[in-house]
């Protein structure tokens, strides 16, 4: 399968009064067409920033982004418009992701109206079709966002993202603000849409059970860096990086006979502002040693399984 998105040493630093905040620091990975890349990590690890940097809602500080093999790190204004149509985003909080003064219909209509690609009649048809597709009843057309429940609002957000027939969608924790009962509906909708429209997703979440449900590949981030990346099944079967092991041990289980041991980390998340070189997890890692103070490289430990840990071979024998 072809690579849709390729990231090479992508960096996004935010200037702060105390120094540069390394939100995304040297991230390199590919997303293949039609697949879902799950990006997991605790809050503040830069996973949302990564998604937003890829679709150019933030300017990258350094590194390159390729779309279908073409470098899109720096693009002209007209190229940008074209890219905006191909790359979309679904937001976390449906309460704030819809303009409170626009009706459902206007919100879905807006991207098509701006593109000038469709006639008025076509836009009307497409609005109906999109509402039907994401499961919003026609009588909601004139409703304002506050008149809808969270699940419906998120559906409107999805319809807006789909309006221009995108190929790549960043799902930025699209279900974490919803009730559990509605989460499943939205996840199923996203899966159906992926199948029908051949979409490629980057699914950002902190919820391991959600990514397990729909990811093909999973990338684990810690403080702006990728610590482990491999196939979804593989990461649940055999997590190699100490941080991934901690993260997986935190998934609650419904199995009473489950004898898994919860790994408790000590210490706190270190500051992302001007971080020291070396493994960023070292301060909390049970296996940290001298070598961990050196910069870590993401290395292919097993076929398709990349880990950034210098003690990986000693630890997983």
């Amino acid at each position: 399968m072809a690579k849709l998105i390729e990231l090479k040493h992508l960096k996004k630093y935010f200037p702060t009064s105390k120094g540069a905040l390394h939100a995304v620091d040297d991230v390199t990975f590919d997303i293949e067409e039609g697949t879902t890349m799950g990006v997991v990590g605790e809050s503040g690890c830069g996973k949302s920033t990564l998604g937003r940097t890829i679709i150019h809602l933030h300017e990258s500080t350094d590194g390159q982004i390729f779309y279908r093999g073409k470098d899109i790190t720096q693009v002209s204004k007209s190229e940008m418009s074209e890219l905006r149509h191909k790359m979309q985003i679904i937001f976390q909080d449906p309460n704030s992701s819809l303009n409170p003064r626009m009706t459902v219909e206007d919100t879905i209509r807006e991207p098509m109206k701006l593109s000038k690609r469709f006639s008025r009649a076509e836009i009307d048809d497409r609005v109906n079709e999109l509402m039907h597709r994401v499961g919003i009843d026609r009588r909601m057309r004139q409703a304002y966002p506050h008149e809808l429940d969270g699940g419906r609002r998120q559906r409107v957000g999805i319809a807006r993202a789909l309006a221009m027939d995108p190929e790549f969608i960043v799902c930025d924790e699209p279900v974490s603000a919803l009730d559990v009962s509605i989460q499943a509906q939205i996840l199923n909708l996203l899966q159906d849409l992926q199948r029908d429209h051949h979409l490629t997703y980057m699914f950002v979440t902190h919820d391991m059970s959600v990514v397990r449900h729909l990811s093909d590949n999973i990338c684990v981030m810690y403080l702006g860096q990728v610590v482990e990346i491999c196939e979804a099944k593989e990461i649940f079967r055999r997590p190699l990086h100490p941080y991934t092991q901690v993260l997986l041990s935190a998934i609650p289980s419904t199995d009473l006979n489950d004898q898994r041991e919860r790994i408790i980390t000590k210490g706190e998340l270190s500051s992302p502002i001007n971080p020291k070189p070396g493994c960023r997890f070292a301060a909390r890692c049970a296996y940290a040693c001298e070598k961990c103070m050196q910069p870590q490289q993401l290395a292919e430990v097993e076929p398709g399984h990349h880990v950034a840990c210098c003690r990986i071979h000693e630890l997983n024998q």
């Binding site: 940008m80 937001f91 807006e110």
Partner: protein
């Protein structure tokens, strides 16, 4: 919800048309004016009884100002020293002033000056404030810094002193006074809009607008500014009352609108010398200033609630 009836009828047709992929009935569903945003705002405003009372008072005062010639029983300029400082009576409802002029007639004509100076001054102040606030919020960086520092400077000058300076420059006519009164409210509106914009632009729908390729101008005018309007409308309507009071203050100091124009503030100023012997010279114009300020504040509150779609029931 006014649109529900229309939609209930069309729902059946809509469902039918889904299966055919297209709906040709779509065009037939005309949106009546009842679906418009304005109607909804009016309806919600009407539910707030106290604000409606405020609005009625304002409308009555505006009508009074328009039909002053018909309403006023006397010529407001006619001097009658023989009947000076008379208490209210059947002939002179609000009594007469030191020159024997009918106070009721003067108040009726004064409504023209007081209301229009309040509205014009706060309209100019609010519009300029929106302009500068939007510029600051839109461009950020040094533009914002310059605008905010100028606001700091203006706000560091006492209001009344600023009015005096400006009216010295422009003169003491009606429009000069309106300009002088509008200047000191510009920084406040500028800051209010900028602060509201800061909180609105943090919301995800602004990012979503960027992601669907909205131009910065469109994001500004379609997504950010409409969501900043509620506090501005409230501050506008409250400012009208403030301006009327400030205008009265300027007249009192001998600046702004002067005798023999029956502006309410000028009337209070002229009457204060007779406060002990004829308090009604001050009481009646004072009551009208209070009434109009109160009414605009009530309407402002009602509008704020009506304009916020979150309060829609």
């Amino acid at each position: 919800m006014p649109e529900l009836n229309v939609q209930a009828e069309t729902q059946e047709r809509d469902r039918h048309s889904h299966h055919h992929g297209h709906d040709h009935h779509e065009k037939a569903v005309k949106r009546s004016w009842k679906d418009s945003n304005f109607y909804g705002v009016m309806q919600r405003f009407a539910k707030n009884k106290v604000s409606v009372v405020g609005l009625i008072i304002i409308i009555l005062l505006v009508l009074t100002a328009i039909f002053a010639e018909q309403i006023a029983p006397y010529n407001y300029r006619r001097i009658d020293p023989a009947h000076a400082n008379q208490l209210p009576s059947a002939a002179h409802w609000f009594g007469t002033d030191a020159q024997g002029r009918d106070i009721f007639s003067r108040i009726v004509f004064g409504a023209r000056y007081s209301l229009s100076i309040g509205v014009i001054a706060s309209l100019v102040g609010t519009l300029l404030g929106i302009l500068f606030g939007a510029l600051a919020g839109f461009f950020g960086g040094w533009v914002e810094t310059v605008i905010l520092r100028i606001c700091d400077i203006i706000q560091s000058i006492p209001n009344i002193l600023l009015c005096i300076c400006v009216s010295q420059v422009f003169g003491s006519g009606f429009f000069a006074t309106a300009m002088a009164l509008s200047v000191y409210s510009i920084p406040g509106t500028t800051r209010l809009l900028r602060a509201t914009m800061m909180s609105v632009r943090e919301q995800e729908f602004v990012e979503a607008a960027k992601a669907i390729d909205c131009s910065p101008m469109r994001i500004m005018f379609k997504h950010i500014l409409p969501n900043c309007m509620a506090p501005l409308i409230v501050s506008f309507s409250m400012a009208i009352g403030m301006k009327i009071m400030s205008s009265a203050g300027l007249s009192f100091l001998g600046l702004g609108i002067q005798e023999p124009i029956p502006e309410w503030g000028a009337m209070i100023s002229a009457g204060r010398r007779y406060l002990r012997v004829a308090p009604h010279l001050v009481i009646f114009p004072g009551l009208f200033v209070a009434l109009v300020v109160l009414s605009f504040n009530l309407v402002g509150d009602g509008l704020r609630d009506a304009l916020d779609p979150k309060l829609r029931k």
